[in-house]
């Protein structure tokens, strides 16, 4: 530790008046085969009972940092580590992971990858048993941990029977049962649906209220995380600590700077930044939906038409104007979002027609008497609670699953009667995990496969595949095995393979599941561009903010039926419908829907309607 860093750490410990539980000093991690360290130099302390939110742009090494906190890195995951991490004064690079486990409990992203045994009770007892605790103590710890996350009543069940949120709560209980004063959670809600996220944060909220555990939280879903956070540590893109302070200092005080750096902010904060740029006085910066609503209720609308932007192309296209918020297109910052055919009105020709479709699996009806029409150039989101049938609907339209004949027309043909080669010229399907659909040994062949299937001459195959490579930024990777691409590149390639045969319709199943915000944004920007060029997009997703930002039209599926089908803003204006379908309002809607003083704001659903970036 350099004197400077030591001094800073001491100062922070002194400020808190407590000895730090965790001390990270100038931590650098270089993975085997990587040329740069990520993080490069992270420094921060965590005091007992403190909740620290760790933020940083994609690729800054947050997850690597998490693994160093209990010594898994470098002890189980080989990497070169510089600087130091000490928990309770123990160096995590040299103290055995098993010993550290009594000081640091870990919760990982994938709930399925944390299960070992056959019942909830055995699962929670697994850690204490490994520590050779007496049986009474094991049971006492297991009971207390399960009770704290509300799963004690289900202790005899197989963890497979829990929902995603339930399994992640179980993982938290398992970490609690280790008795460690520090919990580290690495993207604990990235694989969960909105209901699961709520469950996990309800459990974490109670934990924080009890105050007996310190928490280091890495999370991209800040809307939920901010409410339990004491302190925020921000790493820059190289993984150097650039901010360390309480929520007010860092998130409220330096929000614009963080946003610039590529750190994801709560949606409410992003909205407030845009409103500020439009001339609103919002001080301090609101971070949660409740704070944002209160802040705009207190604020007067900017008197003079503020230098915002846009005779709201996006807003206007849906027949709504947000005057006083978004005028003046001088900066040309208006999003190029296309909303042709919003709400099914106007727009191009019908490209998908579903009539009275019923799909059964075994004896269960997954879809019942579904009707759906999609016009060329639309961007349609299909949403619904788990098991509502939304993925089945998408798969039926794309011919991925067998369907009854004569119920669907996709690009003018019935998927039930059309061979896949002909169908791939009309609709492309992108699976949740891009790796599942790779079939060739090079990126080039992956793209060429769809063209060769069309029996095109090899020269044309080469030409069109090369064009696709260029379009998706993969030229330099043409001869790489698809599995060796980065996550974002794999995703782009999977979209490319779906489109290469010339399909004018693209169907995507949960394309942002388990991904960080930056990669999700990259994909959505790509889809937006494709949509602007005329590709019809259908997407199934749980991410309501994503839906409101990008989809012009939303189809709500509930219990096998389409219960609503309208323009996205109309759907999310209907609280009753959203609740009935088991959905959650996106954060921006939650903040603005009840606003009394500014009716124009109360109707806003997407950030873009609030104006350009700050």
């Amino acid at each position: 530790m350099t004197p400077a860093a030591a001094a800073a750490a001491d100062a922070s410990a002194a400020r808190l008046g407590r000895a730090p539980l965790l001390r990270v000093a100038e931590l650098g991690v270089t993975h085997e085969g990587a040329d740069a360290a990520a993080p490069a130099s992270a420094t921060f302390d965590v005091a007992p009972g403190e909740v620290v939110l760790l933020l940083g742009p994609s690729g800054c090494g947050k997850s690597s940092l998490a693994l160093t906190l209990n010594g898994l890195l470098p002890q189980s995951v080989p990497a070169t580590v510089t600087g130091s991490v000490a928990v309770n004064g123990l160096d995590t690079a040299t103290t055995p992971v098993a010993r550290l486990s009594t000081f640091v409990g870990m919760v990982f992203q994938d709930p399925d990858a944390q299960l070992v045994t056959g019942t909830l009770l055995d699962e929670v007892a697994f850690g204490p048993e490994n520590l050779r605790m007496p049986v009474d103590e094991v049971l006492a710890r297991a009971e207390s941990a399960l009770r704290r996350v509300g799963l004690w009543e289900r202790r005899g069940e197989n963890p497979d029977r829990l929902s995603g949120g339930g399994r992640q709560r179980l993982a938290i209980a398992c970490a609690l049962a280790m008795g460690s004063p520090l919990l580290v959670l690495d993207e604990p809600t990235a694989n969960l649906d909105p209901q699961g996220i709520e469950e996990v944060y309800a459990a974490l909220g109670e934990l924080v209220a009890a105050g007996d555990r310190a928490i280091v939280l890495i999370e991209h879903n800040l809307d939920a995380a901010v409410s339990i956070t004491d302190r925020v540590v921000v790493l820059d893109q190289h993984g150097r600590t650039v901010a360390d302070g309480d929520v007010d200092d860092v998130l409220r005080g330096r929000a614009a700077e963080l946003h610039e750096m590529g750190v994801w902010l709560p949606v409410s904060a992003l909205a407030a930044l845009k409103l500020r740029a439009a001339g609103w006085q919002l001080d301090p910066l609101p971070l949660t939906p409740d704070e944002l609503r209160a802040a705009v209720e207190d604020a007067a609308a900017p008197s003079a038409p503020a230098p915002a932007h846009a005779e709201g192309r996006s807003a206007h296209a849906e027949g709504r104007s947000v005057r006083g918020l978004t005028e003046d297109d001088s900066r040309g910052a208006a999003p190029s979002r296309s909303v042709r055919g919003a709400g099914g009105g106007g727009g191009g020709d019908t490209v998908i027609a579903v009539r009275d479709l019923t799909v059964t699996r075994g004896r269960t009806e997954i879809l019942r008497e579904v009707d759906l029409t999609v016009r060329a150039g639309e961007f349609v989101a299909i949403v619904g609670a788990n098991g509502a049938g939304k993925t089945t609907l998408l798969q039926a339209v794309a011919g991925v699953i067998p369907t009854p004949k004569g119920r669907i027309l996709t690009g003018g043909v019935d998927p039930a009667r059309t061979d896949l080669r002909a169908l791939s010229r009309r609709i492309g399907f992108v699976f949740q995990n891009p790796e599942h659909q790779f079939i060739a040994h090079t990126v080039f062949d992956e793209l060429a496969h769809g063209l060769r299937q069309q029996r095109l001459p090899e020269s044309e195959v080469r030409e069109r595949a090369t064009e696709m490579l260029r379009r998706f930024g993969l030229e330099s990777k043409a001869h790489v095995h698809p599995f060796l691409l980065s996550g974002g590149q794999k995703r782009r390639l999977s979209v490319g393979t779906a489109l290469v045969a010339g399909a004018p319709i693209l169907a995507l199943d949960e394309p942002t599941f388990g991904q960080d915000r930056a990669r999700a944004d990259e994909l959505l920007a790509l889809l937006q561009d494709l949509n602007a060029d005329g590709t019809t997009i259908l997407v199934v997703t749980h991410d309501m903010q994503l839906v409101t930002e990008y989809a012009s039209r939303t189809v709500v599926v509930s219990d096998g039926r389409i219960v609503a089908d309208a323009g996205t803003s109309a759907i999310f204006a209907d609280d009753h419908l959203i609740a009935r379908a088991g959905l959650r309002l996106p954060p921006l809607r939650r903040a603005l829907q009840g606003v009394q003083r500014h009716p124009a704001l109360a109707a806003v659903t997407r950030l873009a309607e609030l104006g350009a970036d700050a």
Partner: protein, 270 residues
């Protein structure tokens, strides 16, 4: 029992009988000599005798359940019939007893000797499987692991890792389904016949393995983070004792096995 519903952790079935109270190692060890010797017998009587013994032990000891009745009443007899007939047809007619002709179609004749060979083989397999079911239908995965760790000095790291690996099975089943769906949509390796099928399955292996390795790494990290392998042993909340009744069960079963082999002496040396 399909992969999708197979739960190695479940305490086996609602019905419980005396067999559930025995040590899993006793239930494995008792029929083991008979199972090994059955591999080398050739007659009909010995496997039939052990089939009766296994059925008796299971029906009396395992507690009646639908699964048990289906296995003993339907699955095993059906397997004996299918394998018996199949093996009879397959047996080399030149090397069997040709004194009895059972069916004759044109130049082809099914001899009684062939049937005898076929059904001897089928009964032998059925007897071995039924004896294995004594432990298989009345023991849960964790109990077997615990008993092995406690009495056979199997390192618990291996036992519990194997148990964790069972969790992979349904997950991979599901993942394989999705991969097959995705490859079908992409039109990968279409066509019929064994070569296309091999090419198709080969294509599933890379994504499946990539997913499997990643998953295994994550599970290993999660287990390490919970102090797995920290000490030479770990707390055992469920001791699986080897009691006097286990000794008695093994001794009786061995005596019975010896008696059957003594009486029927199936090796034709006498």
């Amino acid at each position: 029992m399909s992969v999708a519903t197979f739960d190695p952790y479940a305490s086996t079935g609602a019905a419980r009988g005396p067999l559930h109270g025995l040590n899993p190692l006793a239930k494995l060890g008792a029929p083991l000599p008979a199972m090994l010797l059955l591999v080398v017998v050739r007659d009909l009587g010995t496997p039939l005798a052990f089939l009766v013994v296994a059925y008796a032990v299971l029906l009396l000891g395992a507690g009646l359940s639908r699964l048990l009745l289906l296995v003993l009443g339907v699955a095993v007899p059906a397997a004996v019939a299918v394998i018996g007939v199949g093996m009879s047809l397959w047996a080399d007619a030149a090397r069997v007893d040709r004194s009895v002709e059972v069916v004759s179609i044109g130049a082809w004749t099914l001899y009684g000797g062939a049937l005898e060979v076929g059904f001897a083989t089928a009964l032998r397999l059925a007897a071995i499987v039924s004896l294995a079911l004594v432990a298989g239908l009345t023991t849960s995965g964790p109990d077997l692991v615990r008993a092995s760790v406690q009495h056979l000095r199997v390192p618990y790291r291996i036992g519990y890792t194997a148990l964790a690996a069972f969790r992979f099975v349904p997950r991979f089943g599901h993942e394989l389904d999705v991969i097959r769906q995705a490859h079908r949509v992409r039109g990968a390796h279409g066509g019929r016949g064994p070569f296309a099928a091999v090419a198709r399955w080969w294509g599933y292996i890379v994504p499946l393995l990539a997913g499997a390795i990643r998953h295994a790494e994550r599970v290993a990290l999660a287990m390490d983070a919970r102090a797995f392998g920290a000490h030479p042993d770990r707390t055992e909340r469920h001791p699986v004792p080897f009691r006097r009744r286990d000794v008695a069960f093994v001794a009786l079963f061995w005596l019975l096995s010896a008696a059957v082999f003594w009486l029927l002496f199936p090796w034709g040396l006498g």
